[in-house]
Subunit: 377 residues, 2 copies
């Protein structure tokens, strides 16, 4: 199905767009009353993730409200370790936990790459269902946690503030750590390829905990395995698109990849050079500086502080415009996708999201129009 709004994919391919395309990490989530209603109906968060029709329903909810330029698969970051048999569960009021964390040599030896067509079939089914429901309105993003980020949860058995268990293994038994990461990398690649096969039009790797690593450990234990995933990705997929005379024809289209290391601003050039099409940036790095450092290596996605959405609507708009001004107007061969620097907070007033999107689309359109008519061009 031909895309009606492909501005997001064009920005990732670093082709010109009329405005800065925008989507929001965790855009289908608890700040939306309709999401909470569906989740309640599902009975649990995991049930919501594992039922393709419900995952499709919540994926589309933010698109009904807001003029977003992309949809992102609704799923959990920990589907892979769950499929490995670690027993994912959610304790009331706490984050995700695993019944059987990977703490010793025997547990590491027992790990294997799950079959995305079997244990993770519910995810590819959701991708197919969502693609159909989207009808080409906007592209669908697939995603996975990075090998290192998955390892953090697998070894810690849940969230952590100091990463003591996983870092103890890293420093004490780097051989075990590398074994886990190699399996995770193969699992993430197979998982993302299955999502691409099922219809994902772009993929994003969330390296949420890469920023907890030291310089040197980041390159060795996170970035090296992100590279391995990227090198194994099927970067093209067959799509039915409108041919020159309007008939539908098959065409190979590129599936761009985005890598987002939270707290990875110091390693920006290295991440941008990992083989991805775009690098996600959190709010600690100004986009002007990011753009100067990345150059024409890849596109940039980011980076409003999600907490800026807690202010009044006109203040939210002023902050969004500051982000756009900080980036400037993309030159030929550059691309910018507007996003938050992290997932949207569950406490965000939905009307502030409307205000944000309006500011991004209106202001960036003006920015680009004035750029085109500038005497210097």
């Amino acid at each position: 199905m031909a895309l009606i709004n492909d501005s997001f994919l064009r920005a990732l391919r670093r082709e010109p767009t009329e405005h800065t395309p925008v989507w929001l990490m965790r855009q289908a989530g608890r700040y939306l009353p309709e999401y909470n209603a569906t989740r309640k109906r599902a009975g649990s968060f995991l049930k919501l993730c594992k039922t393709p029709e419900l995952a499709c329903e919540v994926t589309l909810q933010p698109l009904e409200r807001f003029p977003l330029d992309a949809a992102i698969l609704f799923s959990d970051i920990l589907t892979i370790p769950d499929a490995m048999g670690l027993g994912l569960y959610f304790a009331d009021g706490e984050g995700p936990k695993f019944e059987r964390p990977v703490r010793d040599e025997a547990a590491v030896a027992a790990l294997a790459v799950p079959d995305p067509g079997a244990e993770l079939r519910y995810v590819t089914d959701a991708v197919r269902t969502i693609r159909q429901a989207l009808s080409g309105r906007v592209p669908l993003i697939g995603f996975s946690g990075s090998p290192w980020t998955l390892a953090c949860y697998m070894v810690e058995g849940g969230g952590s503030s100091d990463f003591r268990a996983v870092k103890t293994m890293l420093y004490k038994r780097p051989d075990l750590m590398h074994r886990i990461l190699a399996i995770n990398a193969d699992a993430v690649a197979a998982y993302l390829n299955a999502q691409i096969e099922a219809g994902a039009q772009a993929v994003m790797i969330f390296d949420s905990w890469g920023g907890a690593l030291s310089d040197r450990a980041f390159q060795e234990f996170s970035l090296a395995y992100i590279r391995r995933v990227l090198a194994s990705l099927h970067t093209e997929r067959e799509e039915r698109v409108a041919g020159e005379s309007g008939e539908m024809v098959s065409q190979r289209v590129r599936v761009p990849s985005i890598v987002f290391t939270k707290g990875g601003g110091l390693w920006l050039e290295q991440i941008a050079g990992s083989g991805c099409d775009a690098v996600g940036i959190d709010w600690t790095l100004g986009l002007g500086e990011a753009r100067a450092r990345v150059g024409a290596q890849c596109a940039i996605q980011g980076n409003l502080d999600p907490m800026a959405l807690m202010a009044a609507p006109e203040q939210v708009q002023a902050e969004a415009i500051r982000v756009l001004e900080s980036y400037g107007t993309p030159s030929p061969g550059e691309g910018h996708v507007f996003n938050l620097g992290h997932g949207i907070s569950q406490f965000t007033p939905p009307e502030n999201v409307s205000a944000l999107l309006e500011a991004v689309q209106t202001f960036s359109r003006k920015q680009r129009a004035s750029q085109v008519s500038a005497p210097s061009l």
Copy 2:
């Protein structure tokens, strides 16, 4: 009293030292059984902080065990807001909390700079007691939280993972935020000056939550107020030192300052240019890069990942040597103080601290000796 080991102060003044001086953030703490015994005897953590003799006892404990090159005042980061009347308390198994968080205009209007000679007298008493007990073995570091970091706790009412309350105020009511920060800056300056007056030979500002801010917000809401503190510090104090013929004479000595913004690697040059004598660095930034970026602007302190201390002693030593190699040997006008990139974990085996210090002192001595005899000099 003349200092027996002044390597720490010399490194901060960027004068040559025979080895890389070393101390550890939170070196007096729960990883030491003798600390836990004193704390138990005190009855509570706050009682321990507020009783100068006990604070002195635990400050000296790590120096009895390890050949550390500096002592740091044992105290809490939240003494200032406690002295402001916010009601600091520690709930069992949780971090610090305030009974009366600063959430609205009225609470902000009621804030005032506490008198370090009155409400915070127990801190300056502890400094005096510790100086006497140290007898000049090593210098004593005084410290405070940064204005922004104190504001985080004051507005949140405790720790936070998303800083929602304090950032909502920042984005929605920047006027209130600036008012709190101005008061905090004056309070921190008065507090550190009182510590210097009482005998602190260096001071450190812990900007533990500066890294949670966006670029632009960091400069406006954290760094600007750190600058304000530094500009108000009494950078010299009167010390009794040995004169040329051995008799004790009074001398003005410089009191160097260290600024540590956790997660502040992206803003390194700006922090180094804030007026401090040294900048603290966490493990996300390689010391080689840090040194190149800071140049001869100020000294550098850091940056081993505290979790590296969870490995076997020989692995701890290998990691320490990597940090030293990453820095290299200081050129004239440069200085390096070895430290962790954050506080030592309560789960650290004390024998690993011995192994660490031995590696730092032995290896850095060799490094410097070989540098001196190198043909290039």
